[in-house]
């Protein structure tokens, strides 16, 4: 069993739709949860990160973490064609008790999203 499982999709939605992307994980020591966006032939770029459980909102993007279920989600509202990319979840353990520093990232396999006009 992989440490991080992500539904690879692909996912195709019309412009304006709400998109839900999900990952499950098995390592209960993970404390940092991130979502990266990767355009074709580019490196991943950090979209959002969350420390421990809870929700975080940034514009049209909302990240949710449910540590009891070992499940994280990224929601994209009012999706746009420019959101078409591969979305990668990534997780890490905290390196210190205060949780201000994290270790190596373990990525999911990525979900390919296409938003068509």
């Amino acid at each position: 069993q992989k440490e991080v499982e992500q539904d690879p999709g692909p996912l195709s939605v019309p412009e304006g739709a709400i998109v839900s992307l999900n990952c499950t994980y098995s390592n209960s020591a993970f404390q940092y949860f991130m979502w990266y966006r990767q355009y074709s032939r580019k490196g991943p770029e950090l979209l959002m990160y969350t420390y421990s459980s809870g929700n975080k909102e940034d514009g049209r993007f909302t990240a949710q973490v449910d540590k009891s279920s070992k499940y994280i989600s990224l929601f994209i509202r009012d999706s746009q064609p420019s959101d078409s990319a591969t979305y990668l979840c990534a997780m890490s353990e905290a390196l210190n008790a205060g949780g201000t520093s994290y270790g190596k990232l373990t990525f999911g396999q990525g979900t390919i999203l296409t938003v068509h006009p």
């Binding site: 032939r41 580019k42 490196g43 994290y102 190596k104 990525f107 396999q109």
Partner: protein, 111 residues
């Protein structure tokens, strides 16, 4: 601020040949990472440097892969000899305070 630079962007070699990739991190970033991203998969960490010292190389196939970061700035990753299964995108990332910034990657095809 300039991003992480990598070269070459593309490389095609035959199996058993050698290849080297170069990475120039963002200025002032002490931590540098090399990842391997096989098509359809997420990046997998190969090696992590803190300045010019190795922090984690547990997933680096040391019989054929080597990496160095002389003077704590630029880094090179070498594969010798290459195998077909090494075909992948090799990503370099750097960080100062946790957040990792990725370069565009080098796409390696081994024939």
């Amino acid at each position: 601020e300039a991003g992480v630079a990598q070269s070459p962007r593309y490389k095609i070699i035959e199996k058993r040949q050698s290849v080297a990739f170069w990475c120039n991190p963002i200025s002032g970033h002490a931590t540098l990472y090399w990842y391997q991203q096989i098509l359809g998969q997420g990046p997998k960490l190969l090696i992590q440097f803190q300045n010019n010292g190795v922090v984690d190389d547990s997933q680096l196939p040391k019989d054929r892969f080597s990496a160095e970061r002389l003077k704590g700035v630029d880094s090179t990753l070498k594969i010798q000899p290459a195998k077909l299964e090494d075909s992948a995108v090799y990503l370099c990332a750097s960080s100062k305070n946790n957040e990792q910034f990725f370069g565009p990657g080098t796409r390696l095809t081994v024939l």
